[in-house]
């Protein structure tokens, strides 16, 4: 097999397939994931191959999708839930926060909520309202859950399998705007520590941390900065909660400057919190306060203007400039 070039969508599809082959207890459940293969075709062909009992077309109710998955998990299954879009996870919020996140604790460890909730998240696809949100912060703030995000096909392929194997519930955030981008997937060798942060580009002047769709934007910003003589280190966070502090600290201690990039607005967000922690851990190394470049504090706008809401290369560079020029 070795490596193969494929889209992130295909990589997820292959990853799900492999997980289902390896463990009969793995079930998929979601809206339109059967014949249609999901609105993004991530589950394409899986119902045909694994049957309607393992790839379950759900009645249209998200609380029920998650609520029944809880019961299936109690019964020993490993449900992989597809939320059709980020903005439709909220009807399931209660089940996620009150049951998924807390049942292991409540049962003193007897229940294993080995369950994945796949969430096509972030914007950038020109959709209508509720199809471009970044709700990952709500889940990161909820003890009992893990939150991860992938940014490349290879990570997507391996991360989904790791998430399914994991005995904790994982909110799996898929950057829908990157579904159709291609990359090499090594089908044989899983990357080590797939939930740890990874340096995607080395640099010395500023650390830029990103996840999901913004990783690529950050890399593009680093390209541009390089032309202007600024060396930007770009880190892909991958595990959002918990996150790999060590890799971030090492980088920030080296560069002395950090910009966090996310599509979510800043208030009570993952970026805010990571900047706070890095400030604590790297206080004497920081030449400037850490910044977050993110969405504005408004509902996701009509998508004709979404690129002015999402962190663009320009806005990331502006952040980089600000941490470099701080105080001067």
């Amino acid at each position: 097999m070795a490596t193969k070039t494929m889209t992130m969508a295909k990589a997820l599809n292959e990853g799900l397939r492999r997980a289902m082959e390896e463990n009969k207890k793995v079930l998929l459940i979601g809206e339109d994931i059967g014949k249609l293969g999901g609105v993004f075709r991530i589950t394409d062909g899986l119902q045909k191959d694994f049957g309607e009992d393992r790839v379950i077309d759900a009645p249209l109710a998200e609380s029920a999708i998650v609520g029944t998955s809880v019961g299936l998990a109690i019964r020993g299954y490993r449900p992989v839930v597809e939320m059709q879009f980020d903005g439709f996870v909220y009807p399931a919020f209660d089940q996620i926060v009150s049951q998924v996140a807390k049942l292991r604790k409540r049962s003193d460890g007897r229940y294993t909520m080995g369950m994945v909730i796949r969430l096509p998240f972030q914007g950038g696809i020109g959709a209508i309202e509720h199809h471009s949100e970044s709700p990952e912060g709500y889940f990161a703030a909820t003890a009992g859950l893990r939150v991860v995000s992938c940014s490349t096909p290879n990570d997507a392929y391996w991360m989904i399998q790791e998430s399914i194997k994991h005995d904790d519930p994982v909110i799996f955030c898929e950057p829908k705007s990157r579904y159709w981008e291609k990359g090499e997937v090594d089908l044989d060798n899983p990357p080590a520590n797939i939930f740890d942060a990874v340096v995607r580009r080395e640099g010395t002047d500023v650390t830029v941390i990103a996840y999901g769709a913004t990783v690529k934007t950050a890399l593009r910003a680093a390209d541009t900065a390089a032309v202007e003589g600024t060396s930007v280190e770009v880190i892909d966070l991958r595990g959002l909660s918990p996150f790999d502090s060590a890799t971030l600290e090492t980088s920030v201690k080296k560069t002395g400057r950090v910009v966090f990039v996310q599509e979510a607005p800043l208030t009570a967000s993952i970026g805010s919190d990571i900047i706070r922690q890095l400030t604590e851990k790297c206080f004497y190394s920081l030449q400037a306060p850490g910044l977050v470049v993110g969405g504005y504090h408004v509902p996701y706008p009509p998508t004709r203007i979404e690129e002015d809401y999402r962190p663009t290369v320009d806005r990331i560079l502006d952040g980089v400039d600000r941490v470099i020029g701080f105080g001067s």
Binding site: D32, L60, A61, R304
Partner: protein, 355 residues
């Protein structure tokens, strides 16, 4: 399809049906009016689909096949009634007077709404399935508190009928005897999910379990849709409480322009339903019973054509909004993050308007 439970006043062939409880009260001209509405709405829908194909719209949700479900109740509404739609109620919007170009602002992705809901007494679209049913019941509770003789009409699909919010709205409507009519357009599909996944029995039965009347209507029969809606709305206005109307119909087109229905349903099914077209049967009635001349139908076609052209022109002229507008109307009052964001965007030199 045509079962005993179904209220039908006009067959697919355009023949009148005698029903023990309902009869059509409309004159030939009034029926012609419904024909006109449906024809125009269909033409506008087709224009929107092609605008989307040409990259002028982000998305379009066609209503082909469901015109009668919307024009019937749309014309049964009293001016002061209030409606809570989803994303597919273009026919209702039309009846309420929303301008076609306003309907398309959402789909051109220049607005999350599109019109003034108070001007038309037609709420902005609700995309999160089911939310609107509860909002509608709340509005109806407001009507009760005002002592007004008004009703609320709200919409959802066969798919959304499974949402907790829709089901809770039944509990509340019954508990408060709220002046609300629930109109479920059972078009057999929720994207790729067939009706049988949502319920093994007809949806209108649900209402009975909550203690109020449910009724199934031929959703492709505009006369039946009109009469049943009218009576339910009148009943609501005078304190008779809620009704669930299940409009039994079919989505002839794709779920939206992003959808590929060939993946999950067969042509033969679609064909069967094409023969139950809501517009054809009314035309047949008008021709045979009211002896309407082709010229009148041609006039409507022409009018529809003009409106479609106008819509195209309006849509093309619809500029990208000023990015700074994203900060408007988030809060009623001063909010520091709004001001900061706006200032940041200005400092970044983001330019407004078209590009």
């Amino acid at each position: 399809m045509i079962d005993e439970e179904l209220v039908q006043l006009l067959t697919p062939e355009g023949e009148r049906v005698v029903h023990p409880e309902y009869e059509s009260t409309l004159s030939g001209e009034e029926i012609f009016g419904l024909y006109r509405d449906m024809t125009i709405v269909r033409r506008l829908c087709n224009e929107s689909t092609s605008l989307q194909r040409q990259g002028q719209l982000a998305l379009w949700a066609p209503i082909q096949g469901q015109e009668a479900c919307q024009i019937g109740p749309g014309r049964a509404l009293a001016p002061m009634d209030f409606t809570f739609p989803t994303y597919r109620e273009h026919g209702i919007a039309w009846c309420r007077g929303v301008e076609p170009k306003e309907m398309l602002r959402l789909f051109r992705a220049v607005s999350n709404g599109g019109w003034d809901p108070y001007k038309y007494r037609h709420s902005v679209p609700t995309i999160v399935l089911g939310n609107q049913a509860l909002n509608a019941v709340g509005y109806a509770m407001g009507i009760q508190r005002d002592g007004a003789e008004e009703a609320v009409l709200t919409f959802f699909g066969d798919g959304a009928s499974s949402q907790g919010d829709v089901l809770e709205s039944f509990v509340w409507a019954a508990s408060f005897n709220a002046p609300v009519v629930f109109l479920c357009q059972n078009n057999q599909w929720g994207i790729s999910t067939p009706m049988s996944v949502q319920s093994k029995i007809p949806l209108y039965h649900r209402a009975h379990g909550f203690g109020f009347p449910g009724i199934r209507v031929d959703g492709n029969d505009v006369l039946a849709m009109y009469e049943v809606s009218k009576r339910a709305l009148e009943n609501a206005r005078v304190g008779g409480g809620p009704t669930l109307i299940e409009a039994y119909t079919y989505r002839l087109g794709a779920h939206t322009t992003s959808d590929d229905p060939t993946r999950y349903r067969i042509d033969a099914e679609v064909e069967v339903w094409r023969h139950r077209d809501p517009i054809e049967r009314v035309k047949s009635l008008l021709v045979h019973e009211y002896k309407m001349k082709q010229a009148r139908f041609d006039e409507v076609a022409e009018e529809a054509e003009k409106l479609a052209l106008q819509l195209r022109e309006d849509v093309l002229a619809m500029d990208r909004p000023d990015p700074l507008s994203m900060f408007d109307n988030v809060y009623a009052d001063f909010h520091p993050l709004i001001e900061e964001g706006r200032q940041e965007m200005i400092d970044l030199g983001v330019t407004g308007g078209a590009h």
